[in-house]
Structure formats: C-alpha cells, structure tokens
Subunit: 791 residues, 2 copies
C-alpha cells in the first residue's frame, strides 16, 4: 500500500500540506503546491525564491522559440518577489532555519499558504496567495508579519526579472520600470515579438488604516523593488498586500482564427497591452483583498459543485482524488477555445505548454461529464488548429488533418525531430513521435464522437466536429495501405501508445481507432446528408468533401485489418510481430543498461527487441472501447501485458487501474489507482536530469483520476439513453458520490456498499435512463431512484 505522509492530507481532505521543509524537493513541491487558473500558473515556491529554486509564472498563449528547437510558453517576471530582513539579517525561506513551518495548498479554493516562525529575531510570517478565477489576469498575495519581540524589519518587494526559463531566454528586451503607483515589467519575446506587460502594486499596512510608505527603490541583481522599513514591538504586525496583473499581446488579439500567427491579425501595440494591464490593476486595487478572494472562491465553489468526488472511509483516496482533479482544472484553459491543455499544464515550460493526445483521452473526459463547456472548448481548439494539422499532413505527403504530436497555438507540429540523446555516444537520436505516431488524429475524432454522444451537442457537430472528423478520416484514407494479396487495409510504420516500439505495423490500438473513426465518419456523413444537408454542402465547398470519400472510408472501415484475439489464449498482438520479440520483463532488461540514463526505446534501446512496453497499449484500447472484446479476453490481455509493461509513462497506471477494476482484479485496480494518483505527489525521482528540467505536473494522470474512479470503480459507461454502471468499489470505500452531466442535465450518483442512489436535479431538461445489471430505470427531473447492488 502506498505510504502517504500524514502531512499530505488534513482532516477535511481538502488540503495537502507539509510541515517539514526539504530544499531538495524544491522542484516537486513547487509543482505540487502550485496555483493557477488556466490562464497562468504560479509555482508553489516562496516569495524570496530566485531562479535556483525554480519559481515560475507561466503564461498561456505565449508560444515562442528561443533556442531554435523548443517552442514553449514563456515564464513571466516574478511579481510576487519579496524578501524580508529583520534586525539587519535576511530571513530566507529557502534557507530553512525556522520553527513551526508549514506550506499548504487548499484545493478547495486554489489557494496557497505558508507560515513559519523564526526564533532570532522572532517573527512569524504567514503568506497566502491565489491566481484569481474572477479576473484571470490577477495574481495576488497577502503576507502578515507578526513580531514576537521587538524587531526592526526591512521588507523589499517588487518584481524579479531574472526569469528561470527552460530552453533559452525568450525576451529580446525586458525592462523593469516604475509605473504610475506601481512597478512594471515590460518584455518582448525574441521570436514572435509578443509584448508581455506585468504591473505590481504592493501596500504595507500596520493595522487597518496605517499604510506605510516605502523609503526607497532598489534595483539589485535583476530585480526592481521598493523597500519598507518598519519597527515593531512584540505582538505588533504588518500586512503586505500585492496585486499583480499581466497581459500578453495575444490576450488582445482575435482568437477565432489561430490557424497561424499571421491569421490572428496584427499585434497590438505596447500601449494597448499596457492599457489593459493598467485597467486590470485599477480594478484590483480598488477592491478589498478579502473581496477579491471572495469572488475567486465563488468560482471554485461552482466548479467543485459539479466536479467533486466524495469517497467515504478512505481519507487518503479522498485527498488524492481532489488533488488530481484540482490540477486538471487549473491546467485547463477553460476561458478560451483556442488554447491547448498542456501535458504539464502551466506548472512549468516542460512539454512546451502543448497538448498531446493526452488532452482528449486523459484530461477531457472529466470535463465532458462535469463541465462539458470546457470539453467543448478543448475540441474547438482542435478545430481552430485544423490548418496546422492540414499543413502537417501535406508536408508529409498525406491529405486531411494529421494532428501535431505536440500542439501549441497554431496546431503546427512543434515536436522536434531530435529530443533524446544516446548517453553512451552523446549522439542525438531521431525519434519519430512527430511523423509516425499517427493515432492522435483518430483519438481526437473519437473524442468528437464521445463529446457529441454525451452532450447531444449537434450544433458543435455541424460547426466544428464534422470538419474535424472528415479531415481525420481523409487523413486516414491517405495514410492506410491496401494489401491486394490479403484484401485488407493496413497501417504501416507507426508508433502506438507504447512509444518504445517505433516503426511497427498494424498496431491494434491505432488500427482499431482508425476503423472506429472511418465508421463514425460514414455514419455522420449519411446522417448529415439526410438531416442536415447544409453542413455537407458547406464542407463540400470549404474542404472539397466528396461523396466518393465517404465510400472510401466505408471500404476502409470494412476491410482494415484488426488483429483478432487468439482463439486459444485470447491474446491480441500489440502489433504485428510483437509476440516474436524476446519475451522478458522490465526488471530483467533493466540490468542490461550500460548507463542508467539510457533511453529504452527506438532505435537501439534495451526494450526495442523485446516485449517490454513503455505503457499500456492493447489495454489502452480497452479503456476507450470497453466493448471491444469480452471480459475474458480483456482479462487474458491485462494479465499478459501487465508484467511486461514498464509504466515508463505516467499515462499507464490509470489504464491498468481502470481495466483491472473491470475484470475483477480489485486489489490491482486499487494499487494502480494509488500509483496513478501519486505520480507527482510522491515523486521522489530526479526532477532535473543531466541539467534538463523534467519536473512539472503530469496533468494527464491528474485528469484520468476522475476516470479511474467513475469509469473504473463505479463502472460508468454511456448508454443511448443515459448511463450504465457496473460498480467495483475498493473494499476500503464505504461510499462514493459524484455528479454526471448529460444533455445539459445533472445526476448525483451515490454508491454505497449495498445500493446506488441516483438523484436528478430539478432543472434537468429530460429523463435520464440508468442501467445497472439487468435493471433499467428512468430518472425524471427532480426525481430520485435507489437500486440495490449485488454484494
């Protein structure tokens, strides 16, 4: 059983915290305790931390390439920067030396707090901060300093412009200046020429009235600050409030056309950006800090009302699930429909702030059933980036939409061709994530299906979904190969989800997804032609859609090769020839490493010629298509592939957890659930490897936690008229409760050990049918049913 430090959860199960400070965990803790609002992320570091402690204010929609290789989000100057000196001596969090330390993240409110007490000189410092969900451009903190004896304080606060940046310095210019009643950082990115303006307002008060004036400005070591000097007697306190507002050029640009940077029209002037910042800061300064927080908390309250999962009898699991849902929420650009949900969210620049297939398969389903408008926006993002996907297809000799493996603002491929090095020779390795890992395209089209099925949002289908779908089907039609002798279509030279094996053929996952999408494209075409012909006509005009294409997709759907389960063993081959590879185990081949830093995969890594997989692959398909095969076949495959899987990707545990729940491997399901939910929280591995930062929040693991609980343990599945359930709760759990949205309505599901109750909100627009075993009941708006569970 996973050991979770007691400090990591509180009685309320709404917080994580630590009361022991470990400077070696700076990276992990900075990620775990981060705050954010989908527009910006601010790492859970301390106010006086410098670049060496990896603080970061990561801002969305600022993709820029500084080093010629990595296009990534930029980190803004740190507007919360503050240092305290007391009796002439610097009090630095990062140096520890305090008594009664604690750092907390209140998931319920998206608020970070820390407190510590220093003995000599005696002061107590308490800080709280949040990225506002009421005004996404606002980052604010409040720090209370209480004297435990007579002390002379010097508080230096302002902006730290010495930005920590992963891959090069993104700013061709960065100036720190005094603004009107504030300090200002004004930056221009080197590649794209975006402006980024950040203004900071700081006020120090002793008591409700006594505002203290700063005694001077200081500009040391890349910072611009004001200095407050104040003497306190024992028990006296001062409170520092900081309000930081920031905008980038892109925040003022048209967001409906982001097919390329040029398509968004000209960049606004610096004056325009500055004006937006000034207005934002005036609004924030005009409001009491508590009211700012109130407005922010109201948004969180709303979100948790739909998103929260309540687990009775297992406080660790309860805390973990909230921690994971929290991080999925703050990573999501729910305010926009032109931005991706990054694989590391806004926790740092790693993974370029960009979307992978993770977005649709791991992050999105939680939103689909709790906040469908966010799921919709993430899919509209895929619509807005269709031109990038079309360009990639064209560049590689295909048609339609070949979505980027790494997708930023324009949807053009920003995954470099070289990103690993052979540590033995120092030579770079050509990995083919950017041209062979094609399943991202059908994965997105599959999610269009799922979204439309769950929400009934036909308008989305007409305006966006159909075009995505048909362009993906078109891509697949240009990508498949027909084998005349075998009279079947094949998909050659791909990477499946298991990324150690590149250059494989007829990957079960990829072929199945391709078939599903071609079939769905044909059905959709036929339905639209019948029921909404103007959509078809529009696509004929806009993308040159032809009826013959529909027929080609139909032929592919009928004749594409789908590896079948072996009639005796039930095993499905991950890809052609997989079973002929050396049959061994991750722990065995690990001993073959000549250097612990060696890459295990293509082309020469230790896993390549073996059946050791990086992550779930056949099992991954089951997660998306629980009905793809019988439970017996699923079980056989789970049991075969599980010991051969390294879980070298954070995506893997969840998949094994979900399928384990389905096939009755309850203990394994719970074990994998815990592993998946603690990928970041218990991360004791290196966060910097060979000088490269590899930390940050694994947002896919966070998002998929919802699926483990709801799809896995509760066994929820979509039916035509509602939801089905096949619960397999861990024995630890006394109850499980969550909400599900469908067709604009909301259900509240509660599972006890012996019964399931389903409550429909009164405002639901229609009845929703519930299937449980052989029972089928309809729940009317405002209604409630209770169904017995088999022991």
């Amino acid at each position: 059983k996973v050991k979770l430090s007691e400090e990591l959860w509180s009685e309320t199960c709404w917080e994580i915290g630590e009361s022991r400070f470990d400077p070696d965990q700076a990276i992990t803790a900075g990620s775990n305790f981060m705050i954010g609002n989908g527009y910006m992320g601010y790492r859970g570091t301390f106010a006086d931390d410098r670049a060496g402690q990896y603080p970061a204010l990561v801002v969305t929609d600022t993709y820029d390439n500084a080093d010629g290789t990595w296009k990534e989000l930029v980190t803004a100057p740190n507007g919360l920067f503050t240092t305290i000196s007391c009796q002439g001596k610097d009090i630095l969090w990062r140096q520890g030396g305090f008594r009664e330390y604690e750092r907390r993240l209140a998931m319920r409110w998206g608020e970070w707090s820390a407190r510590a007490q220093w003995d000599t000189p005696g002061i107590l410092v308490e800080e709280e901060r949040f990225c506002s969900y009421d005004d996404l451009h606002l980052l604010t903190s409040r720090t209370r300093i209480t004297a435990l004896g007579e002390v002379a304080l010097e508080i230096t606060t302002g902006i730290d412009g010495t930005v920590w940046s992963l891959n090069g310095d993104h700013f061709s210019s960065l100036s720190l200046e005094e603004g009107p009643d504030c300090l200002e950082a004004s930056c221009v990115t080197g590649e794209q020429g975006y402006h980024l303006v950040l203004r900071e307002d700081a006020r120090l008060r002793s008591g409700p009235e006594g505002e203290i004036e700063p005694c001077r400005r200081t500009a040391l070591d890349g910072t611009l600050c004001r200095v407050f000097q104040v003497s306190l007697r024992e028990g006296q306190e001062v409170v520092l409030e900081k309000r930081v507002v920031l905008y980038s050029s892109n925040d003022l640009r048209d967001t409906t056309k982001i097919t390329s940077d040029a398509a968004r029209g000209p960049l606004p002037s610096l004056a325009e950006v500055r004006q937006a910042v000034a207005a934002g800061l005036s609004r924030a300064v005009a409001r009491d800090w508590n009211l700012l927080r109130e407005a922010h908390r109201r948004v969180w309250q709303e979100r948790w009302a739909s998103a929260d999962i309540m687990i009775g009898g297992d406080p660790v699991a309860q805390t973990l699930i909230r921690y994971n849902l929290y991080h999925n929420v703050i990573a999501a650009p729910a305010h926009a429909d032109h931005l991706p949900l990054g694989a590391r969210g806004l926790s740092c620049q790693a993974y370029q702030g960009a979307a992978f297939w993770d977005q649709e398969v791991f992050n999105l389903p939680m939103f689909l059933f709790t906040e469908p408008e966010t799921a919709r926006r993430l899919l509209v993002y895929r619509y807005r980036t269709l031109d990038g996907a079309r360009k990639k297809a064209r560049d590689l000799g295909y048609r339609g939409a070949f979505y980027a493996w790494v997708s930023g603002d324009t949807g053009e491929e920003i995954c470099p061709s070289y990103f690993f090095r052979d540590v033995l020779s120092g030579r770079r390795i050509r990995n083919h994530f950017n041209d062979w890992q094609i399943h991202v395209s059908p994965d997105i089209a599959y999610t269009v299906w799922k979204y439309v099925a769950a929400t009934g949002d036909q308008e989305f289908l007409y305006r966006y979904g159909a075009e995505i779908l048909f362009e993906v089907a078109r891509f697949l039609a240009s990508r498949v190969h027909y084998r005349p002798g075998l009279e079947r279509y094949e998909i050659i030279r791909v990477l499946g989800p298991d990324e150690y094996h590149e250059n494989v053929d007829n990957n079960y996952f990829t072929n199945f997804q391709a078939q599903f999408v071609c079939r769905y494209a044909v059905e959709t075409y036929d339905t639209l032609a019948e029921e909404h012909p103007q959509t078809v006509r529009g696509l004929e005009e806009r993308i040159g859609l032809e009826k013959s294409e529909r027929d080609a997709w139909d032929d592919i759907a009928r004749r594409i090769y789908i590896p079948a389960p072996d009639s005796e063993t039930g095993l499905i081959e991950q890809f052609q020839g997989f079973f002929e590879l050396e049959d061994t185990r991750p722990e065995v081949i690990k001993k073959r490493l000549l250097d612990p830093g060696e890459y295990w995969g293509w082309p020469n890594g230790i896993a390549v010629e073996t059946q050791v997989s990086k992550q779930a692959d056949v099992t991954q398909l089951f997660m998306l298509h629980p009905q793809a095969c019988s439970r017996e076949v699923m079980k056989a495959n789970w049991e075969y592939y599980e010991p051969r899987t390294q879980h070298g990707s954070s995506l893997s545990y969840a998949v094994y957890a979900i399928c384990a729940a389905w096939i009755g491997h309850g203990e394994e399901a719970y074990r994998y659930f815990l592993r998946s939910c603690t990928v970041d929280l218990l991360n004791t591995g290196k966060a910097v490897s060979g000088g490269t930062f590899i930390g940050g929040i694994h947002t896919a693991a966070c998002g998929v936690a919802w699926q483990i609980v709801v799809s896995g343990f509760a066994g929820m599945y979509l039916t035509r008229d509602g939801f089905g359930f096949a619960p397999h709760l861990p024995p630890e759990w006394e109850s499980l409760s969550f909400r599900l949205k469908r067709w604009g309505g909301t259900l509240e599901i509660t599972l006890h050990r012996r019964a399931m109750t389903v409550k429909a909100l009164p405002e639901n627009p229609r009845d929703i049918q519930i299937t449980l075993g052989s029972a089928e009941v309809s729940v009317a708006p405002g209604g409630q049913v209770a169904l017995p569970l088999e022991g």
Copy 2:
C-alpha cells in the same frame, strides 16, 4: 592514376607476382594468389603456414553452423602441409630471410608458384600447385629443393589438422590417421554431421627413379606427417610431389532436390565417402604429375578461349582484367547446378560461401556471354532453392519467393539478424538485410529475363525460369501496398542497394525492378498460355498459379509508383524523402565519427540522416536498364550522386565506371574501372578488424570487371537480333577484343580506334545482327564484317 606495382604484372600480362615478401599482407596475398576450381579453393599461402597465416582449403557444399549464428562453408585440413629443415634449422617461408624470393599466380593456368633461395644453409625451394579442373577433388603440388652447398635436409610433410575457421570449430570429430599408402584426415561436421575425408599421398624423389622412403611418422601440434631425411651435395635436388583428394558427404548425394537438407536423402556412410576418396587418389597417383597438369591446363585453355578479353596498349589494364576474370571463374561452381557463387567465392569462409544479389547482377553476366551453361546453372541453383525462398516469404507473412539475402545450399535465409555491433556501446545492432532488402528477388527474376533473352533457351524458361519468375511476381504482389488516395502501388520499408539507408519507401531501384518483373511475368504468362500451355498447366498444378494473379501483376506494373526525373534538374530521388536529408559528403561526415570502427548506416550511424550513400543506387538501376532514361538524365544523376557516394561497397566502383563510360565521362570511367579492378589487389586496408576476418576475394568486383569493359567501354547491349555497340574506349587502349556468345553461336569482336571487326565462328547456328550507331549488319556463320568507328 592507380599505381600498380611493376611486379604485379609480367610481360605476358597473364601473371601477377611479387618479389618482396611482406608478412603483414598475409591475408591479402593469401586471397590474391589463391587457386581454385569452383569445388575447392586453396589460399595462396605457403606450405609451412599455420593457422596464424590464414591458410585455408575451402570446400563447397559443406554449409554448417558451428557457433549458432554463422552458417558457413568449412575449411578442410591442410593436405599440402610441408616444412623443411636444413642442417637442423627450420626453413620457414613466413619468417622470410630469403634471397631471390618470388610468388606468382599464373592466371592462364590457375597455377600458383613460389621460389626462394636461402643462403645459409644454401637451398633453393621451388613449389608449384593447382586445384585440378580435370578432377575437381584433386589438389596437388610439386616442390623442388636444390642444394646450393652440402646440406642435410629433413622434409616433414603430411596433413595439418589445426584448421583456421572463422566462426567456430565445425568438426565434432577430426581424426588424422595413416591410410593405405597415404595419410588421411576424417572429419564430421558438428551441426550437419557431414563427413569430410581427405587423403594425401606424398612422394620424394631424387632423380627420376630414386624414390626416398620416409624415416618416420610424426604427429606434432595437430599435424600428422611423415619425415624424410636426405643429404644433398651442391647442385643435387629432390622433388616432393603431393596429391590430395577430398570428398564430403554431399558430393555423393542427390543434387536435384536441395530444397532442404532432408530432401537430399540420407547421408552416405563414412565408408562410401572414403571409397570415393580412395578411388580418386588412386587415379591421381597413377598419373604422372605433368600429365595431371596437362589435363588441368586443357580446361583452362578452353575457358580462356571464350572468356579472355584482350586489351592492346595498356598492359596494366590487360593484367587487371585477367586477374578479375580469373577470380570470377574459380569462384563459380560451374560443375553444379545446386550451388551458389559466393560473395567471397572459396577464398575464405567470409560471407558464408553464400550468394547475394551479387551473383546475378555482378558475377553472372560474364558467364552469360562467355559460358552460358554456367549462367544457366547459377539460375537453376535459384530454382532448386525456391523452397527456401518460399519458406522465407511465408515466415514473413508473404507469398511466393522471397529469396534469401544470404543464400547457401537450401536457399533458406542464413543472414543473421544481428551482425554489426555499435562499437561505442558494444551493443549489437539489428540490421534488416534479411527481411527488408527485398530487391534480390526481382533481381533474380530480371536475370531470368536476361538469360532467356541472350540465349533463347526456352527449355530453361519452361522448366525453371517461369516458376522463378511467377513466384517472384507473386511475392511482389503480396509485398506491395496500394495507396487508395494516390491510386498507386508503393513498396514500403525496404533497403535499396545503398545499405546505409534502411526502412525507406519507394526506392527507385526496387520499384523499377519490381515493375519490370511484373511486366515480364505478364508477358511470359501470356506467351506461355498461347505457345506452351502445358507449362502454365504444370504451374497451375504445382504452385497453384491463377489467371487472376497475372491480372494483379498487370495492375501493379501499370500503377506502381516510379519516381520520375525532376522536370528541371533531371534528378531521380533515390527513395522518398532522400533529397530532404542533410546534403553533405562522405569526407565531411567522416569527421563526425567518434570511433573509426563505427558502422555508418542504420539505425544511428553518421550517414543515416544524410544523403551520403554507401554505394550506387539510382546509378545501379541505370546499369541494369540503360534505357530507363535519357543520357542527359543519367548524366545529371551520375553527377549528383557520385560525390555523395562513399563506395563503402566493392560493388559501387563498377557501376559508376559503366555509367561514366555511357555519359561520356571517359576519364572517370577509366579511374573507376581501375579502382574496381584493384579492390583486392591493392587492398591495403585492414583484413582483420576487431579480431574479425574481413578479407577474401570480392568476387562481384571481379565478375563485373567484364561488364565494365564489354558493357561500359565497348558499349555492348542486347538487341532483339544480336548485339549493339556504342564504344567509348579509354584513350590508352589501342585495341580491345573479346568474344560474345548468343543463341549457341560465338562472335569475336575487335575494336580498334577507327574500326570494329566482328567475326562469326563457322559453327554458329544462325546469323547475328550487329548495330553500331545507325549501321546494322548481319554476320553469317563464318562471316566477318568491319564497321568504321566515329573518331
């Protein structure tokens, strides 16, 4: 200009020789001076050499796997082993220290000779030897020892059983015994259990009558010898004659069914093999040594009558061409139609004694026009190994015949999956010569076409050729992929001739050959159906041939993608995406090597992501299909690819030489001709690398020398009714003369600077038409024509 040591050629241009002994060149000289007869090869080492000097008696049809990886021919015990001691001191060739040394190879007669004179004690030793073409199982030598003062000699001669073997000890048992009037080595191979029996007869005479009896036997250090003691006065001499006869089990087995070892029926008993050896030795002993040689020479005389090329005015080129033709001849198992011509012939075990595509494309054409029965036998070998090729296709999921990349006796693939190591990590590399380098199959079918076209041998086509052709076409039909969107067939994931680039698509060479073969298969099918329906019926029964297959081949031939020359530059892309690779040069990337021993190719070598090719590829296609494109396009491509080609394969120079002649790059043609012809002769590179023997005769370079001269410089090409010529003689050459066979008739072609004469032998069965520029003349049997050449 290539510098060729004066010693390497004699006035007659029929010999190579050396008068300086360099023990460091033991491997190269051992290969260059080797003798052989297509049944056995005996390296040009010295009689007293031990394993450290790499002597070897390599015997065909003895494929055996000793180390679990390499199936290769075995090396037999050395029956010519002899040491001389004089005045109690060992006289060893390998230690040098002689005066008046020379070693010679008489290409005219396939005879090796050496002589050396030692001062103290003074003796002159002269040895000559040959592998008999009159009795292929006979290896014989004669050594004359002349006293230059008064000397007491001890001559120890017999069999050295300490065999040098490349990849493991092939003999599970090896016994050296005294036989009836001879010594005998009797061996059993470990994997296959083949017997190999070798008997040696040695006689020492002083003068014609005075046979000297040995004084004792000795069995030291893995040898079994008899010892002669003799004292000579100044000017006196003794002569040692040795006759060695050997047979292996396979020499007595059925050779018409070698589809698998089992198909050849049971192994003969040791007694049977011994009986064959005994009979052979009796015959040899019964004949005077001079008569043995006479019989042997008669065969050579015959062969040279058809094979010789005479070059006037350039003795170096004259010697070189004969040296190369010689090695192609002795490598060819002209006595059999179930054996391959090895890539290193019988010069050593390297390349497993096995055939590559080299056999058809490089070795065979010389025979096709000078000794067509040998060409036929090599193709019948491909027929007899069809089951191996069918098995390979089946094992890899295809139909028809996928010929082995490395083809031994049964035609099953004996190319290991791993044969290179990454010198930086010590890890083995998975190269895909054995499963992706598919062009060998169409290359063989193409050669069926060429053979039938040149000889008119319809009987071959009915019995063997059609089945090869259809099985290859069937394989191709199962190997191609159809791209529905592009409405074309493609060939995906291959290695073309340039082996540094694996995993490429639509390799021009491969696709062109595949199209040619499909087209030829359709034509052949149609012609046979019309003119020889019993062949079609036979194939319907035997291999389940169907008319629908013919239609599928037709469709492939019509719609396979053949990269076209760029309309502006004329360039043809070697494979899809080649021109997007880094455009650099071999000498540039060579500097990127971290270790001189690194493999340049797939998957991680320095050439992989560049346009640097190992060897001719687009140009290689031109060599096979001179009419594939215009001379301008050929020129553009030659000039583009030539500086990007490393010539890391011995096959490359010749291709560039031939095409250079065609496009008017005369100097380059001559330069590449010399480089190609001296691959072995001037080999100054390492012959042992990392403990691995990489020496041996490059038989493909030897065989293709004929093509450089006849197809390249003389510009010979096949026409429907005879031959065409487009001569481009090097300016050094005053004349060029050679014979060509077609339809059973022979022409003697002589080119002077101003005229070409063509003489038809009186026994020719029909007229042969000659095309020269716009001139067309018919040469009747016994006739002669002279045609003027344009200056």
